[in-house]
């Protein structure tokens, strides 16, 4: 990236609120239903119908707002945003303009181990639009086909301050926001199902300039890495325009994930003139203290706080704690494993973190599985680490057991029994194997006695081979040296 320019990014996230029904009617929000089966006179905009607000949608939005440290506006009103597009049967979208439910929040992100605070401008409630099909497979249609199942599904639009200074910070913000929302379970955040979508405002300005440059709005990024790629491309494009003496124009651009470029969307509509006004079909909302306090009382431990607890309670490094809290399912897995191991023995929290972040996550990644789909149950990973810690098996054998656990879903004790992998810690037996190894290696013994201490490694290897890896390695080391010194 060019050092002459500073990048300024603000993000708008639309996250689907996790309700059973739509925001203004009783239709289901089920994603997998047949097209146009979750529709009714209200969400298809028939004349004379009246919308009625879903209380749960308000509760979940307020919960999200509290988790993001926002001020809750007790009084809130709905507004109509007018535009014509066939995905919107009413020709207006019910949204909020003045007096959204929440304003002035913030969220911590971490990039390269640096913590940065990103401001949240506002969170408002609005309804989703329908889905339009322009083609069926490879066949281009000469018309558009509308499915209104999604029309009227509640969304919370979370608008950030223009506080991000690089595409990496934007990706970190989205990751942190998604993680937080998953912790408090106010949205599924499933990006493939469009339940967590992001538009980005991006501009550049010469370093040191106070005023913002002219921004472009980017749309159609369907993954967090897509957002990062699109922003990285757009920064480069804007720098090139300016460097070649051109001017950035304010416009909406769409990300093409195949060509990996952004394209201008030439809109025929007069530059966004939505003519917002308060929706006369919906009376204002007035949230009382009880409503807000009840929600506050039910906010679970948030990622930042949980991270601090992992560091204090289990002595994890900041790095490991960050990896583990990055996904609610992962941190739940970790704590289940730790609890199961602590029933057997002590000091297992750190080794469990290592097994989890290096061995298990690596294998899951290769197998394209999520932590929830892990063939190794959390309790079993805890038991495995407890067995190492109690010297029942060596770390080396543990890797074999772990491999088997991953492939067979079995618990470690069963595998150890079936395969006869219990560690040999009987002193006499180890002495016997060590003596055999020494007797078979006169040359190496001579080297050792001649002062080459590293030669002992080869004899250790032979002992491990003879015991099929089961001899307790600490004991082998000690006994071998004792025998050699005789």
């Amino acid at each position: 990236m060019n050092n002459k320019y500073e990048v300024v990014i603000g993000l708008e996230v639309h996250s689907q609120i996790k309700t059973e029904t739509k925001v203004f009617c009783n239709c289901s929000t089920d994603f997998h239903s047949q097209p146009n089966t979750n529709i009714c006179p209200v969400c298809t905009g028939q004349p004379g119908v009246l919308p009625v607000l879903n209380k749960k949608a308000v509760e979940l939005l307020v919960k999200t707002a509290i988790a993001l440290d926002c001020n809750i506006n007790k009084k809130s009103v709905f507004a109509r945003k007018q535009y014509f597009y066939p995905d919107l049967p009413k020709n207006y979208q019910i949204s909020q303009y003045e007096l959204p439910f929440a304003e002035h929040g913030n969220l911590n992100i971490s990039v390269d181990d640096q913590i940065k605070n990103i401001g949240i401008t506002r969170i408002h409630l609005e309804e989703d639009a329908g889905k339009l099909l322009h083609d069926i497979g490879a066949r281009q249609l000469d018309c558009s086909l509308a499915d209104y199942n999604r029309t009227g599904i509640p969304l919370m639009e979370i608008v950030s301050e223009p506080d991000m200074r690089s595409p990496q910070e934007a990706a970190a913000y989205l990751t942190a926001l998604k993680n937080l929302i998953e912790y408090i379970e106010t949205s599924d955040c499933n990006m493939e199902e469009g339940k967590f979508r992001c538009d980005a405002n991006i501009s550049i300005r010469p370093v040191g300039q106070k005023e913002f440059g002219t921004k472009a709005e980017l749309k159609n990024m369907n993954t967090i890495s897509g957002v990062e790629e699109a922003l990285t491309y757009e920064v480069q494009r804007q720098i090139e325009v300016v460097e070649n003496g051109g001017k950035i124009i304010q416009e909406t651009r769409t990300w093409d994930p195949d060509e990996k470029i952004t394209k201008s969307m030439r809109s025929k509509e007069n530059a966004h003139d939505y003519r917002y006004f308060p929706d006369p079909d919906l009376v204002p909302v007035n949230l009382d203290d009880n409503f807000i306090n009840d929600i506050k009382a039910n906010i679970p431990e948030l990622p930042e706080k949980r991270k601090q607890r992992l560091i204090q309670e289990y002595g994890l490094t900041e790095y490991d704690a960050n990896v583990i809290i990055s996904d609610k399912a992962l941190v739940n897995y970790y704590e289940t494993a730790v609890n199961s191991a602590s029933k057997e023995t002590e000091n297992t929290a750190k080794p469990i973190a290592n097994w989890l972040t290096t061995e298990l996550l690596g294998k899951l990644n290769n197998a394209k599985l999520t932590i929830k789909e892990s063939p190794v149950k959390a309790e079993y990973l805890g038991q495995l680490v407890a067995l190492i810690s109690k010297d029942t098996i060596s770390g080396k054998i543990a890797k074999i057991v772990f491999e088997e656990m991953f492939n067979t879903n079995k618990d470690p004790q069963t595998i150890i029994k079936e395969k006869g992998l219990v560690q040999i810690s009987d002193e006499n037996e180890i002495i016997k194997i060590c003596q055999e190894a020494i007797d078979e290696s006169p040359k190496i013994v001579a080297e050792y006695k001649g002062g080459k201490e590293r030669a002992v490694v080869a004899i250790v290897g032979l002992v491990m081979k003879k015991s099929r890896g089961k001899a307790n390695p600490q004991m082998v080391n000690k006994i071998l040296i004792d025998l050699l010194k005789k």
Partner: protein, 100 residues
Amino acid sequence: MEISKKDVDYVASLARLEFSEKDKESLTQQLDSILDYIEKIKEVDTSKIAPTSHGATGQNVWREDTVVKSSQSTIDALFKNAPDKEGDFFKVKKVMDTEE
């Protein structure tokens, strides 16, 4: 406040409405007199009155999050109200918002 014919053209295009030149003239006058009236209302001192967003006095009209499925006959009626259909879909004129 002075409404021009240009303003009427703009508002009409936003609302997807078409008017004859004669109608446009009378609309220009009508809108102008409506705005004059609002100018007059604005003379009232409202500095101590909270803004009103709704004519009704109620608040917090909301419902529980319980699914009620539309009957097949309701869904059929919704399709009948639409200009066209194809299979399970409402069929509409093609609108693309990107151009190469």
